[in-house]
Amino acid sequence: MDAFTTYTGVAVPLKRSAVDTDQIIPAVYLKRVTKTGFEDALFAHLRQDPAFVLNDPVYAQGSILFAGPDFGTGSSREHAVWALRDSGFRAVFAPRFGDIFRGNSGKQGLLTGVLSEEVIATCWAAIEADPGAAATVDLQAGTVTLSGETYPFEIDAYTRWRLLEGLDDIGLTLRDESRITQFEQGREAWRPQTLPVRER
């Protein structure tokens, strides 16, 4: 997982509330056996509407999403984060998020920042006044800058730290690898072994 410090990319106004994980990625895409390659699945049903924002070529390179409240609610599928990540998104801002989605995002390097409904509305207006404009996220400072205005966003300290360090769950655990090894040295011989027993 890459560390997240500052990032600049095309801002996308997703002017909808309660975009649940089923809208982010419909269930039919869950049968796949890979963890990547979900870009075609992102918002698959919403995209069928020609007027859907991501069908506008000006947002083709979009990577920072400004969404309405309750983004990522519903089923716990981790695929929702994979679909956003595979489509190039690095950050999502919204007034409220589904808890599980938010947890999954932090683990996969996708930044989710809370901005008030007023700020989101201001951002939507700013993007629409200048479609294709870039936003800049500064995670160290905890701010996002758009059209010359800088807004502080909320993110919990633990997730922020993990993103700054670029640590996924496994990376975080492997920081304690010496303790795992030490624990293993103390394990009793009677504990189960699945492979044919080797010479000790």
Partner: protein, 486 residues
């Protein structure tokens, strides 16, 4: 077998710990500080084809190896057909998942029991059968019914795909401690009443969310009297009460079941293990976060009428009237369930006619379950209109059953005797109900569409399944005996 569980209301004793707390403490790699989770070591990781592909894909993407292939084992179960197992799997998604598991096992050096192998079978049948599941260990699998293994006094729970990847890479999991709940069942079960009826009654009592965030410890004289198979049936369905895990303290029954199995400890290791295992039962005076009491003498054969495992009642009862349910949410859900199940309030459960009987799944497909089913159907013919499927939990169970001649009893009865797998427990392989079909099933979930789109499921014990297959309507074993006397 003779030790009695401490009285549930025993006074709190400082330092007294529950079984769950002891197992947890002995697996702490690092205690979490400032709200961070504990890091817990995993002794045994079970894999199957559905929840593992993305985990391996994640390892590959980061260039990480499997830390302990020697603590990991895989089998094929959810997608596998239970007839014509030598032919290619027709469904493309199913075939891809199976082929992916085979490739991953090969690439990462994991032991895999494929279709056709004598140790292949439902993942929760395979672990105990090999003697890999034992007291005092931690067991995980990307499958909610991993709680089955808790019957040995192991801490066993289901995990999601990214946790599967985490365990493959680190052999640990960051976890917040679970809460504990004692479920005490005192007394003796009447003949014809089984472990399945006990757990269905528990879930009906505490509800499908009653165990949320908890490890359930089943205790009391009725639990002590159960075989390992019965204990596994009970722990298996802990998840249906919303719990993270279920456990039973190890005792002589546990040790007798384990001793001599292929992976059970031998010699001095065995002695050391048993000495440790004897220290595991909850201390007298240990405090649980919640306690539930059940009277075993009062339990009757149980059956579900709705679309979650908590919507059940005794077989002698009637379909309830949702209007009489006070809680508006429960009332709505009962209303919707009855519509889906096509049932009218007040109908006697024993008047409900079924189209199919499914004898199988990780809840009830061990050889003891098959013997129970056979004991009722032996020498009889099934009702003409009922399709009866008997599906052993593993290839080895199939062989054991055949060695005892059970297969002959089943086929003479008119049942289909199949190969091992999850089969009609879930609509993921070819064994499915047709829309509108009604099934008495020994499995663990009666959700809408679980056994096939539009299929209707009544959860029952193997004995009730057998009696139902004979009479064609939901029936208890005593109904069959009564009939024979006429």
């Amino acid at each position: 077998m003779s030790e009695t569980a401490p009285a549930p209301q025993a006074p709190r004793r400082a330092g007294a710990r529950t079984l769950a707390e002891k197992v947890w403490a002995d697996h702490l790699v690092k205690r979490g500080e400032d709200g961070a989770p504990d890091l817990v070591y995993i002794d045994l990781h079970l894999l199957h084809e559905v929840t593992s592909p993305q985990a391996f894909d994640g390892l590959r993407a980061e260039g990480r190896p499997v830390r302990r292939p020697d603590l990991t084992i895989a089998t094929e179960d959810h997608n596998t057909p239970t007839i014509d197992i030598d032919k290619p799997i027709a469904d493309i998604t199913s075939r891809t998942q199976i082929e992916t598991l085979r490739r991953n096992a090969e690439e990462f050096g994991i032991r895999l029991h494929s279709l056709g192998d004598v140790e292949q079978g439902i993942v929760h049948i395979v672990g105990p059968q090999l003697g890999l599941t034992m007291p005092g260990i931690t067991v995980v699998c990307g499958d909610s019914h991993t709680s089955t293994h808790g019957a040995f006094g192991a801490m066993a729970f289901g995990i999601g795909t990214s946790e599967v990847e985490h365990v493959l890479a680190t052999q640990t999991l960051p976890l917040k401690p679970f809460k504990t709940m004692a479920i005490t069942v005192e007394g003796a079960l009447k003949p014809g009443v089984t472990a399945k009826d006990v757990i269905l009654a528990v879930i009906a009592k505490i509800g499908t969310n009653g165990g949320q965030g908890h490890v359930l410890e089943y205790r009391g004289s009725a639990i002590r009297a159960l075989s390992m198979e019965g204990r596994m049936t009970i722990c298996n369905m802990s998840i249906e009460a919303g719990a993270r895990a279920g456990m039973v303290a190890p005792d002589q029954t546990t040790f007798d079941y384990l001793e001599g199995r292929p992976h059970a400890p031998k010699g001095a290791d065995w002695d050391a293990a048993v000495a440790y295992w004897r220290t595991l039962p909850s201390d007298e005076g240990a405090v649980f976060d919640a306690e539930v009491l059940l009277d075993a003498d009062e339990l009757e054969p149980f059956v579900t009428w709705g679309t979650n495992p908590g919507q059940g009642t005794t077989l002698a009862g009637e379909v309830p009237d949702p209007a009489a349910i006070a809680d508006p949410q429960l009332r709505d859900s009962a209303q919707r369930a009855l519509e889906y199940m096509d049932l009218t309030p007040g109908t006697r459960l024993k008047d409900i006619k079924v189209d199919a009987v499914f004898m199988g799944s990780c809840t009830n497909s061990r050889v003891e379950d098959l013997r129970a089913f056979a004991s009722i159907v032996k020498g009889r013919r099934k009702a003409d209109h009922v399709r009866v499927m008997v599906v052993p939990g593993s290839a080895r169970v199939r062989l054991e059953a055949e060695a005892e001649g059970l297969d002959k009893i089943f086929t003479d009865f008119g049942a289909e005797w199949r190969f091992a797998g999850c089969s009609m427990c879930l609509g993921m392989n070819p064994d499915q109900l047709a829309p509108g079909e009604r099934c008495a099933s020994t499995s663990n979930r009666n959700f809408e569409g679980r056994q096939g789109k539009g299929g209707r499921t009544h959860l029952v014990s193997p004995l009730v399944a057998a009696a139902t297959a004979i009479r064609g309507t939901l029936s208890s074993p005593s109904d069959v005996e009564a009939e024979a006397l006429v």
